[in-house]
Amino acid sequence: MTSSGPWAARARVLGIVVNPVAGMGGRVGLHGTDGQVELARARGAEPVAPARARRALARLHELAPDLDVVVAPGALGADHLPDATGWRVTVLDGPEPGAETTADDTRAAVSALVAAGVDLLLFVGGDGTARDVAGAVWAVCDDCVPVLGVPAGVKMHSAVFGLTPETAALAASRHLAAPERHGTRQAEVVDRDAAGDVRLYGTVQVPALPAGVQPAKGAPAPLADDATALAAEVAAELEPGRLYLLGPGATVDQVGHALGLATTPLGVDAVCDGRLLAVDADEATLLDLLARHDRATLVLGVVGGQGFLLGRGNQQLSPAVLRALAAADPAGLAGILVLATPAKVGALPEPVLHVDLDDPELAAELAGYRRVRTAPGRSTVLRVET
């Protein structure tokens, strides 16, 4: 960077935290490692996160040889630094973590890093780690510090990870070079809950970066993950007198924002004629609202990387609610609007959406190919399976 930009006044500070046991469960058939480290070890798992941390940090050091770095102690970070000549490194105070690091260690380190005033928080781990990091950031200052994940977990459905450790390093270096230039975007943190259901745990800011290094006519550009324009288009189409139920997720939440309403990304909100009728509504509220409107449309996003449309993270949209929707509007089920950014669609393992309802008949009605709107004037088609 030249020193002419307004943001060049002070050096940028990078915070680093590593979950050293992340990803261990993957190779031994566990769906995550949280709370299962012993089991993973017993099954012969080897740590994967340290190597991934080293890959990312070595690349970052090449890209940004001159950096202020604050790092968690020992296995939580400092142990994985490359020969960091040129980096001004501060290791957080505090006891060396024990052999068995825990989620609490991650959270404590994040709080300390945020307090240290870092400009970007680079963590190494998977969805579980992302959840801990997001929680800890929120506890201090909402989503004030942008977060970026080096992929090292078993599950990585949250929209916060670089494709590879090296691309995460590239994104980090670009962001630190000029944060204001590229800005940040809101991204979902999702994970499976204790019952195995995918849940949305919150949102964080991640660096919004345009394409990385590319040879001509090659190499993938990151897919757009900004739903504001799509949301504005949808918001402009809303009919007077019609009840709109806005499902959970950052994408659909943007529709609420486009209407200037304080909707929540975590739950179902109800909107009619530009007014917010309910926030984070439960099943009973939804049924009540549907009973009082003769036209209604459900707007759904796609939950996490698994591609769940219904039955994960939005159980309040129960079979009863869906039936009421169908009753309110003959086109009720067919008319469900599905919104997903290109990045969301691109992250699906297959072009398939899932519905998991305790009502096979209803589920069957929802199955089949369904148009999914991705941007203004843009759509794709995904197969809904039950």
Partner: protein
């Protein structure tokens, strides 16, 4: 494995031509005027240039040598290039020679038809040949590339529906994630909404997905088949029928024609229009990216909407006529006719037997490559569950190799350059296959060259295992090393001109 060549690219450390400048030198002197005239007496001072442009001052031999050095620092097909979906093939030099003759190079399109009879005949005869290959009723050569032909289709589609009073309603063009980006991009540029169908298990999008979005809003389907993975959608006729059922038009991007030349005819499959790339399939040189021709052919019904002028044979010779209800122009004049004449020569030399054989050889050579490549550890094939043989290309993946070594397809590509092999084709956006690579052998490359290509890949993969840094930091025997792309998208650093660079680097 054969011995690999001890190759090194030419390195001239060639300065920019601007850096070769020495005051007062001349490279070309224009003729003196017929009669002297002081511009200041002929035009107002305000429209005259005040300061001379800062162009280099270089003598003629030095300009020649400078650009010869640059040519030597360009690999082109002097090396081996199996760049998939671009069908790298031999460009007969006789075509280059002939198109340099005054009877081609020094023709003006505003000349009277009577003075252009040879040219118009060549254009018309080539049109007839492409009609034969496709079953379409008429071709135009105005589009300056494949994407421009796709754009021509969107313009024709617009005119067709405008004529029927349905333009406001027919707002959607459908394509697939595997279709070349020019299809959705030109659809959007022409004012259509775009629906992109995903690729499913078999390597193509499903008919049911198509049916889910067909409606009276459908304007057109735009698709290439086979695609650039060598996969052929066997339901394409049903696709075309389904689109026709709702009143839409079907455009066949036939850029990947090389493997099916002589076997498929677009019109027989039901398509309303198609496009052939003369700078790929029909032997015309790439030129580093044109001048190119996307030959656009269509049915009689759509011919009403073609851009003019159209070339026709009449009793009084060949003529050009405007097409009154057509889209006017997609660019000026009849097109890159110098390239059409070369393609005409190529197709004449190949003939019915030659193109059929070329297609056979392309598909055979690809399947041969596939056999050898899949023996290499770390190389897999995209959509392996689609077990039928690929046509002239196969999409491979280095995903397993990358997981093993951390070395990416781009790294491998860079290292192969050290052995005289130019980049392979990776994949279009979106990358549905990780770490993709897509060679296309075509009919031009000898078995020995193909074997060499595979040997080099095998060798580089091994190098990546024993000495990953060597591959990650490649190339080492090229003109220059690996690009550090980090400045490219930085407004304070990018510089498309020397003057911008000098200003930004403080050397202004």
């Amino acid at each position: 494995m054969s011995e690999l060549r001890n190759y090194h690219a030419a390195v001239w450390d060639e300065p920019l031509v601007m850096e070769l400048s020495a005051p007062g030198r001349r490279g070309n002197v224009p003729p003196a005027p017929i009669a002297e005239l002081d511009p200041a007496t002929a035009l107002p001072g305000a429209v005259l240039r005040q300061a001379a442009p800062a162009l280099p001052e270089v003598a003629e031999p030095d300009v020649l040598r400078h650009f010869l050095h640059l040519s030597q620092e360009t690999m082109g097909m002097v090396g081996i290039s199996l760049f998939g979906t671009c069908t790298m093939k031999y460009n007969p030099r006789v075509g280059e020679q002939l198109s340099g003759r005054d009877g081609m190079a020094e023709l003006h399109p505003d000349q009277d038809d009577s003075t252009l009879q040879g040219l118009l005949e060549a254009v018309h005869r080539f049109d007839l040949m492409l009609r034969g290959l496709s079953g379409m009723d008429r071709f135009v050569f105005q589009p300056g590339g494949g994407a421009h032909a796709a754009y021509t289709h969107t313009a024709v589609t617009r005119a067709y529906f405008a004529d029927r009073g349905e333009l406001e309603q027919r707002r959607e063009i459908i394509t697939t994630a595997q279709a070349h980006p020019c299809n959705p991009a030109t659809a959007s540029a022409a004012g259509f909404d775009v629906i992109t169908l995903p690729v499913e298990e078999d390597g193509y999008a499903s008919l049911d997905a198509l049916k889910a979005v067909l409606s009276d809003r459908t304007a057109a389907l735009m698709i290439n088949n086979p695609d650039d993975m060598g996969i052929y959608n066997p339901h394409i006729k049903e696709w075309v029928d389904a689109v026709h059922e709702v009143g839409g038009l079907c455009f066949y991007d036939h850029a990947n024609f090389n493997g099916v030349m002589g076997r498929l005819r677009a019109r027989e499959l039901g398509f309303d229009a198609c496009m052939f790339m003369l700078h790929k399939t029909f032997g015309v040189a790439k030129g580093g990216g044109g001048p190119a021709v996307g030959a656009y052919g269509c049915s009689e019904e759509l011919a009403t909407y073609l851009p003019g002028p159209l070339v026709e044979a009449t009793e009084d010779g060949y003529v050009r006529r405007e097409n009154p209800r057509g889209v006017g122009r997609v660019r000026e004049y009849l097109g890159n006719l110098n390239q059409v004449v070369k393609a005409f020569g190529w197709l004449t030399a190949m003939g019915a037997d030659g193109i059929r054989e070329a297609a056979d050889i392309s598909v055979l050579a690809n399947n041969y490559m596939e056999v050898r490549l899949l023996e290499l550890k770390g190389v897999t094939k995209a959509f392996p569950q689609m077990t039928k043989r690929r046509l002239e290309m196969t999409r491979f993946s280095l995903e397993e190799y990358t997981a093993e070594t951390g070395i990416t397809a781009v790294d491998v590509q860079n290292r192969m350059g050290d052995y005289g092999i130019d980049a392979f084709w990776l994949s279009h956006e979106p990358w549905i296959v990780p770490e993709p690579f897509t060679p296309e052998a075509g009919e031009t490359w000898s078995l020995e060259d193909i074997d060499y290509w595979i040997d080099v890949l095998a060798h580089v993969l091994e190098e990546g295992r024993s000495d990953p840094e060597l591959v990650r930091t490649a190339p080492h025997q090229q003109v220059v090393g690996q690009l550090d792309g980090s400045s490219l998208d930085d407004p304070e650093k990018w510089a498309t001109t020397w003057r911008a660079h000098r200003r930004k680097s403080g050397r202004g």
